[in-house]
Amino acid sequence: MPPLETAGSRIRDTAPTAIPWFIYLAAIGVTGIPVGVLWDISWHSTIGRDTFWTPAHLCIHAGGLIPGLTCIALILRLTFWGTDREKAGAVRIWGFHGPLGAWVVVWGNLAMLTSAPFDDWWHDAYGLDVEIISPPHSVLALGMFGVALGVLLLVLACQNNIEESKQARASLLFNDVAGVLITMLAIMMTEETFPNQQHSGLFYGIIASTFPVYLALISRASKGNWGATRSAAIYMGIMAGALWILPLFRGQPMLAPIYSPVTHMVPPAFPLLLILPAALFDLLIQRFGKGRIPWWRVLLLAIPLGALFVGTMLPAQWHFSKFLISDSAQNRFFAGRAFYPYFSRPGPYQKEFWLRNRSAAQPKDIALAAGLGIAASAVGLGIGGWMTRVRR
């Protein structure tokens, strides 16, 4: 081992001047995961019959494998052919050298790999699943999350190390990948966030305990301004793209019973209006939350963030969901009730809010949601603070 301290002081003299090509490759590749998952859900809602080789499945696997193979190659190259200087900019795990993000991507790929035989067995044991969330799917989701988080960390380290003139561009790439992560989270929660569920207290509790983590950490860790807003826009863009593009293609159910005779690929429901709280997060964090701040200021900042999240999402989704399930939203743009799969029976419930024998969200539900939002914002700010310090 060379004396690292002396090697290190030399390295800091020159910050990297360009975003390496493999980071672009991994960032573009990982987009295949949410796109593939949306496609797969549409496939199951429209056609039903599937094999390992459906284009949607291939898209998901590519989304895992492109970053995965890139990172494995990166780790092998650094370990066996890397200069001491390069190794000094990586972390060492089990004798191998690689950036932290690459390790997380590898972990994600391993989890995705693990889920495959488990899921297969699950289908054999309990039948092909109709629900999105099952134990093997959770392992898969964890793996996909790992891959996306790993890519995010790769981009992050690059953003944090790169010379100042290139920082804006790296920051944009960071926001793109963060948007992919938001999209994956939103897809995971599809079953709890249908427009028909957006008058229940549970809905506000669920979104307030999850999304603020991302919005806060993205906003805080971005070198550029408006990071959370950009990422939320990416999320809404991916969802809207699926919403507008999927129904352009014909599709016919290949399984019985068919209760809704769909003729084209079923789109997802309209995305959540996350861009609204995201913009407020950015405004506040730009002003009070950038750089190193003591922990009590983090907690203090989380209070308005959590409150603002619920304060914007509650009126926005409350009214917007009313619109979405009404007849006025039954068009190509909003595709209000178009998300019902072929195996759902048409009925009045599609135009109603599902409250399951409970009344719509009460003040105490909203207060609870705000509390969860504050906690989630604090967690997000904390992770964001760590992220600003990630160097390798």
Binding site: E5, I93, L100, L110, D124, V130, I133, E191
Partner: protein
């Protein structure tokens, strides 16, 4: 646990699938056999249902006239009908065969399906529909290999995660090239520990979740024959039997009403244990939707297994199981209960205990007619057979058969260890009520009429009756055959030893 139930409840509200009571005719014999016609084509269909739902059913269709044929199959859910069916699948010719076609169909939800079989050739085209109930019949246990592979991968994931967590809070925060301070190193170790605790908790949570899913599967989705309780009552030397469906799951599930099969709401079979020597076929009348009463014939005392066949309005049929102990009867000569009169189609029969006679052979000759079972050279589990019976009179001359409950003959098959129970007709394993229910819903009027002719209009002068079947597993079976000749119900008892497939 609640989460799973909530999720299921949520999905059923979303999809309004409802939780219909699953029903399965027969015990331990899931395959469906059908012998009939698709227009001008005589066909024999075998459906091997998937062990879990959603799952893939294997369908084979043998067309018994000259081809080439075009065979198509289509799954029709009872409540969605043909409108709710996807485009048909073409069955492919099995290699080396000239008239055997095979296909696979997905059954997506539990409940009654009809598999519509469409055959077309130069002779014309026609359709038949075969009822089948889709439900889970098997609980899969993980193999040691699978457990090993998954645990190995799981351990690797845990270890790698801990290492990553350590690096995330120590090395990765350092300027390239600098060494971690002692404080950083400690932070890294703490992070690794936290990650271990976190993932162990997550794995434990996942394990609990899995257990909850499995329990829900076993108690709600996995099919078991509904349990019944049978009680005897006696008055003035007349004995009556009451069957109560008291399975808690029967009460819990919404279920469709029963419809009569062969004109009877329930076909109740009693078989004496352990010799399977006494057999009775009775027809209780329904008191309400879970209580059924019948007069008891003068059966010898003993422990009896009971199998009750019922058919639902959806077209699903199922077998309810139970047991009853019958004590010594007061007056075996008369069995007319003071209030409950026996059904004229009721019949009972006694023979030698299973395993004590030559197989297959008629046991006690039923006067004045005798049943003969056409010998089979070898009987192997899983192999398609045609069981052929003939009724002859004392001189060995074929007896003229009449329809017995709308059928030229009935066969009941029971494994020695009672793990397999089937009630067969010349049309196959489906109850006639199921067949007619699906036919009326999905076939055109001519096809329904043909099916009706086929069931009721068999040439009974021939005095031979054939049943399509394949024994599901090796072992010794008792087979009873029932028919009617000159107003008399004739029962024959046989036994057969089924070999394991080599």
């Amino acid at each position: 646990m609640n989460k799973v139930r909530d999720r299921v409840a949520l999905w059923s509200t979303i999809l309004l699938l409802g939780l219909a009571w699953p029903a399965l005719a027969h015990v331990g014999s899931p395959n469906v056999f059908f012998e009939g016609e698709a227009g001008p084509h005589p066909i024999r269909v075998v459906i091997r249902p998937p062990p879990v739902v959603p799952g893939l059913a294997q369908i084979s269709v043998r067309v018994k006239n000259t081809g080439p044929h075009q065979v198509q199959v289509l799954p029709v859910k009872w409540d969605a009908g043909r409108k709710g069916a996807p485009p048909p699948d073409s069955a492919t010719l099995v290699r080396g065969e000239t008239n055997l076609y095979s296909a696979e169909l997905w059954f997506m939800t539990t409940g009654a399906y009809g598999v519509l079989v469409r055959v077309e050739s130069s002779a014309g085209k026609g359709e038949a529909i075969v009822p089948i109930t889709a439900l889970a019949t098997r609980r899969l246990v993980m193999t040691p290999l699978m457990t090993g592979v998954l645990s190995g991968l799981g351990l690797l994931l845990v270890a790698l995660l801990a290492s990553i967590a350590r690096a995330a809070l120590s090395e990765s925060l350092l300027e390239p090239g600098s060494l971690p301070t002692r404080r950083r190193l400690r932070g890294g170790r703490l992070a690794a520990l936290a990650a271990m605790i976190f993932i162990t908790g997550a794995l434990y949570g996942g394990y609990r979740w899995w257990g909850a899913v499995d329990r829900h599967f076993v108690s709600n989705r996995l099919y078991r024959s509904p349990q019944t309780t049978l009680t005897l009552s006696e008055r003035d030397g007349h004995r009556a039997l009451r069957l109560a469906i008291d399975d808690p799951r029967w009460e819990r599930h919404q279920r469709s009403p029963l419809i009569p099969d062969h004109g009877k709401l329930m076909h109740l079979f009693l078989v004496r244990q352990p010799g399977l020597d006494v057999f009775a076929h009775l027809h209780p009348s329904g008191r309400d939707d879970r209580l059924f009463d019948t007069a008891l014939p003068p059966l010898p005392e003993g422990e009896y297994l009971t199998f009750a066949d019922i058919t639902h309005e959806t077209g699903a049929s199922q077998t309810l199981t139970g047991r009853v102990r019958i004590g010594p009867g007061a007056s075996p000569a008369s069995w007319h209960h003071s209030e409950i009169s026996p059904d004229p189609t009721d019949a009972w029969h006694a023979s030698h205990p299973v395993g004590t006679g030559a197989a297959p052979s008629p046991s006690v000759p039923s006067q004045p007619y005798q049943v003969r079972w056409e010998a089979l050279s070898s009987v192997v589990a899983g192999v398609d057979l045609s069981l052929s019976f003939q009724v002859v009179d004392a001189n060995g001359q074929p007896a003229p058969l009449e329809l017995y409950m709308g059928m030229p003959g009935h066969a009941v098959i029971l494994h020695e260890d009672s793990s397999v129970f089937t009630h067969l007709h010349p049309q196959g394993t489906a109850s006639m009520a199921s067949l007619m229910t699906f036919a009326k819903r999905e076939l055109d009027i001519n096809a329904v009429r043909r099916l009706d002719d086929l069931i009721c209009g068999v040439d009974t002068q021939e005095s031979r009756v054939h049943f399509p079947y394949a024994f599901p597993k090796p072992g010794r079976y008792r087979v009873w055959f029932q028919a009617k000749a000159r107003g008399q119900i004739v029962t024959g008892a046989f036994e057969v030893t089924v070999a394991a497939p080599s």
